[in-house]
């Protein structure tokens, strides 16, 4: 590497890191509790737990479930009904003032066997909601998401330039070697290089899938306007449905169409995931891989008959498969702890990088270039 290209990579590493470090620290710190949000929910008592019953216990119909929810919030309408992937004993009914409401949403958790209300999870308050909102959008909506996506791009630039700079720094050193006889600064430099290079793959994957997730709303909107619109072409221009047909019948039709799949969530007519005339029943697979993917079955909201069902395009599958790679919620509890460990290591990489930059602003004015000269000695 010529001194000129080396300077260019150093410049890229310095500025891509400097601009993004504060935001990446925020993401790492808020991401840490989010890894354990289920456990924290259980600990805070906000996680909904259904009473133990036999697996073949009779089930309430979804019309009964909806009646319970309406009873609780008579002025609101149904928007979504969903289940956690690993628990089919609870239905979560989300309600709003209209099918497209974005604020003042209410949720009722209903026992899928007895039809009894279990809890009313809060959707817009609580510590974890605040942490999640900071992590996803810094309380700045879609602009916040795209901004954080941009910080993610800078992070990838910092990682790539960091890998390029690893070679000249480490040429004379063994892997993981820490020069104990040297200054504090050199020790931190060695630690920065070690932790940066070992967390490389994880940081790239979590960074890249995080960037992809910031586009999630845009991807879903595109899908809706494109493929969903085609599936609904026959209904264009019809007046909206005023009296909804049975949800239980609609979901039974969807299950009959995809008998090997389970229910992910159901969107009521008029929401972002259905049409004015349909229930959108989103089915999931049952295997580790297919459980992450959804297949929409659109059911006529009056007759309860299936109108159309089509696997989503590749970009929706890609979005859905990228999510576990960002959340770390796909390999059991050990995976959560590994995610936490790598997150903390990334915090140390960011902190040590900041320290190395701040340190060179002192009277000795050491910088990357001087570190390189000393590394080459």
């Amino acid at each position: 590497m010529t001194p000129r290209t080396l300077r260019a990579w150093s410049w890229l590493h310095k500025w891509s890191s400097l601009v993004s470090t504060v935001f990446l620290l925020v993401l790492c710190l808020t991401g840490l509790p989010l890894i354990f949000h289920h456990q924290i929910g259980q600990w805070l008592g906000t996680e909904v737990v259904s009473p133990k019953m036999r697996a073949d216990a009779p089930r309430a119909t979804l019309d009964q479930v909806m009646a319970v929810a309406h009873d609780r919030f008579p002025s609101k309408v149904g928007m979504y009904v969903s289940q956690e992937p690993d628990d089919d004993t609870v239905w979560f009914v989300t309600m709003g003032d209209s099918p497209t409401a974005a604020t003042d949403l209410k949720q009722v958790a209903v026992d899928a066997r007895t039809g009894q209300p279990l809890a009313e999870p809060k959707l817009d308050s609580g510590l974890m909601v605040v942490i999640h909102t900071i992590h996803v959008e810094l309380f700045a909506g879609q602009a916040g998401k795209l901004f954080l996506g941009g910080m993610g791009v800078l992070m990838l630039a910092a990682i790539v330039s960091g890998v390029v700079l690893y070679a000249p720094f480490m040429r004379k050193l063994r892997f993981g070697e820490e020069r104990r006889d040297r200054s504090t600064r050199v020790k931190w430099l060695d630690l920065h290089n070690l932790l940066g290079i070992v967390t490389l793959t994880w940081a790239i994957v979590v960074g890249a899938t995080g960037i992809i997730n910031t586009w999630a709303d845009l991807v879903i909107t595109h899908w809706r306007n494109d493929q969903m619109a085609q599936m609904l072409a026959a209904y264009r221009g019809l007046p909206p449905v005023t009296q909804l047909g049975s949800l239980e019948t609609a979901v039974a039709s969807a299950r009959a169409r995809e008998p090997a799949m389970k229910i992910g969530f159901i969107a009521f007519p008029g929401t972002a995931f259905s049409s004015q005339h349909h229930y959108g029943v989103f089915m999931r697979g049952r295997e580790a891989l297919t459980e992450r993917l959804v297949k929409p079955v659109l059911v006529d909201a009056i007759t309860g008959q299936v109108t159309a069902s089509r696997a989503p395009p590749w970009y929706v599958d890609a979005l859905l498969l990228s999510q576990p790679l960002h959340f770390g919620d796909y390999g059991g509890v050990p995976m959560q702890w590994l995610w936490a460990a790598l997150d903390v290591l990334t915090i140390i990489v960011l902190g040590s990088g900041l320290y190395l930059w701040l340190g060179k602003r002192g009277p000795s004015r050491k910088g990357l270039a001087s570190d390189l000269r000393s590394a080459a000695r």
């Binding site: 690893y166 070679a167 480490m170 040429r171 063994r174 892997f175 993981g176 820490e178 104990r180 630690l191 070690l194 932790l195 290079i197 070992v198 967390t199 490389l200 793959t201 994880w202 994957v205 295997e287 580790a288 891989l289 992450r292 498969l321 576990p324 790679l325 796909y330 390999g331 059991g332 050990p334 995976m335 590994l338 460990a341 790598l342 290591l345």
Partner: protein, 57 residues
């Protein structure tokens, strides 16, 4: 780069990077043995960081 320079420098980083990738993808593909593969694979970067990072500190 000559191989006598390449492997001492990039051998460990490359091995850890590949094992991490195998781990990240493993648990996505299946459960059971795939999960174990993931824990071991992704345990490598965490383990290496602890082993080399804490040594002598």
């Amino acid at each position: 780069m000559k191989s006598s320079v390449f492997w001492p420098l990039w051998g460990w980083p490359l091995a850890i990077a590949i094992l991490s990738a195998v781990g990240l993808i493993g648990a996505l593909v299946g459960d059971g043995a795939w999960d174990w593969l993931a824990w071991i694979g992704l345990g490598m970067p965490a383990g290496a960081a602890l082993w080399f990072g804490l040594r002598g500190r």
